[in-house]
Amino acid sequence: MIILELKDIYLHFGGIMALNGVSLDVREGEIFAIIGPNGAGKTSIFNCISGLYSPDRGQILYKGKEINRLSPFKRAQLGLARSFQNIELFRGMTVIDNLMLGRHIHMRTNLFTGGLWFGKARGEEIRHREIVEEIIDFLEIQDIRKKAVGTLAYGLQKRVELGRALALDPQVLLLDEPMAGMNAEETEDMARFILDINEERDVTVVLIEHDMGVVMDISDRICTLDFGERISMGKPAEIQADPKVIAAYLGEEEL
């Protein structure tokens, strides 16, 4: 089943066509990668899906329904979560608080119950704290749970941001270059987390990544972009063999 579909999306900034009629479909349960050279329009696709940009033309369908006009927070409530290329954590807050914010859509505490604390609010805090702690254990970040996020090393911040997205309990997880700037070991950990999230938590993953080794290893299907246009889509082996892709992207590295 197709869970997320883009139909003929156009997006421009001034004279730049960031997306030039892009169509793609993501199937439920798969790991779908979007690759392409710098400035190809990958992040723009994510921003359209999560509602930060609204495309000039085209449709975005989530579970068959058009979501073009929904504000970002509503899309999050529907089960779309993401991480950002330039980490967008709440830097002054602790890891726990960042993850608790990820639980926002699943909590009910309001200005009254929150202010009273005793009763509903405390019970809810404890319940969701348990879920958050479970994610902390899963991502192996127990020892930094009370640290302010801004003080953490880059690789750990990326992991915390993944945790925050995971706390939303999403059906589709959009990850924008989760391995960027990481060493080999951190990259390997991250790949393992993504696979676990996909397999054990049944989360569909859409991944933007420059590390070709990882992409070819873990993705079910790959879409290649260049200058805002989709130049191919298919299984890793097909993409690797596609001369257009090699010219646009892989070739760049090998030359």
């Binding site: 509602g51 930060l52 914010l101 505490t109 009273l116 609010a121 997205a165």
Partner: protein, 357 residues
């Protein structure tokens, strides 16, 4: 000297979430509470020392603490500046005065209603915050300040124009709360209630959403926070608190007119939370204490000198104002994070003493 734990370990999340975490803190909190309760009975010597009615001062401080919590939620936690809180406090004061005097509702209903009315007014004037940020929002809220001020002066049928409205003291089951001492207990009951409310709010879901909006509103929206709603809610709850402060002020001073709620009061509120510590619940308390006490403390040397050289009174009066301004500027330069942050570093220093590097 008591030995302190080297670190805090908790068995359950419930313990981990408690506000007062160690027995040490609990003890000092209890001692402080006892002092707070006894204060109206032991303040006489203090009165003579500083040459003022300290109970009156305490009541003013308490009222400002409630208002400062309100502004702190909006500015410190949600990151939306307001230069209209002076006027919002006025809305609370007028609402309470009109409700009790003209409508004839008892104070105990007028108090929360004044808060709700102020919340509504605050939310309406908070609508620009959906589009404006920073300085632009400051200007927009300053417009609220002037519009409300204008209404207070000129909507005479409702507000009594420049003469204002004379208000009476509340009574509690037949006991009049018309003297400083009984009003003190009313004010501080509400100070404690609103302080706990603010603390709880800021450590649960709505408070986290506020801070998320302050720090990165786009990321907040993407993880599912309805940023528009929370921006307006923050204006609402913030104005509610300052409206309560206004109502308390009205029934203490007993006459409400527009002069008390000018732009100067808005600036003072901002100064309170900046000096006390934005985004810290204790910050509102420190700021209200500091801003109320400073002019009084500056008057002590002035008073002493005037008795020796009566002629210099005029000079000193203007000098204290200058010193007041200077101290605030020095604070902003040397303590940009506010008194609450300073207190925090001092506390940590002693926790680790003598290994405090």
């Amino acid at each position: 000297m008591s030995l302190q734990q080297s670190g805090i370990f908790h068995e359950t999340y419930k313990e981990d979430m408690a506000i007062f975490q160690t027995p040490f803190i609990k003890f000092w909190m209890a001692a402080f509470m006892v002092l707070l309760i006894l204060f109206p009975w032991i303040n006489k010597p203090l009165n003579a020392l500083v040459n003022t009615n300290t109970l009156y001062l305490m009541n003013l401080i308490g009222i400002y603490i409630i208002g400062a919590h309100g502004l702190n939620i909006l500015t410190g936690f949600t990151g939306q500046i307001s230069l209209g809180h002076g006027a919002f406090m006025g809305v609370g004061a007028y609402a309470s005065a009109i409700l009790t005097v003209k409508v004839g509702i008892p104070f105990w209903f007028a108090l929360p209603l004044a808060g709700l009315i102020t919340a509504l007014v605050g939310m309406v004037f908070g609508i620009p915050s959906l589009r404006l940020k920073g300085l632009y929002l400051a200007i927009a809220t300053m417009a609220a300040q002037f519009i409300i001020g204008y209404a207070m002066r000129n909507w005479s049928t409702l507000t009594g124009g420049s003469t204002g409205i004379v208000v009476s003291s509340p009574s509690f089951f037949g006991i009049s709360l018309g003297d400083d001492r009984s009003y003190y207990y009313l004010v501080y009951t509400l100070v404690i209630a609103t302080t706990l409310y603010t603390k709880n709010l800021t450590r649960t879901r709505p408070g986290r959403a506020f801070v998320a909006i302050r720090d990165r509103y786009l990321a907040a929206e993407v993880i599912g926070v309805n940023v528009w709603l929370y921006r307006i809610l923050s204006f609402g709850i913030s104005s509610f608190l300052v409206g309560i402060a206004g109502s308390l002020w009205a029934h203490y001073v007993l006459v409400v007119n527009d002069e008390a709620f000018g732009i100067w009061l808005s600036v003072q509120y901002l100064a309170m939370i900046i000096i006390g510590g934005m985004g810290s619940v204790l910050g509102g308390i420190y700021g209200a204490v500091f801003m109320t006490l400073l002019p009084i403390l500056l008057r002590i040397p002035e008073h002493a000198l005037t008795q020796i050289y009566p002629g210099v009174f005029a000079i000193f009066q203007s000098m204290t104002e200058g010193v007041f301004g200077l101290i605030i500027i020095l604070f902003l330069i040397f303590e940009p994070d506010g008194l609450a942050a300073r207190w925090h570093t001092i506390k940590n220093y002693w926790k680790l003493w003598p290994f405090s590097y």
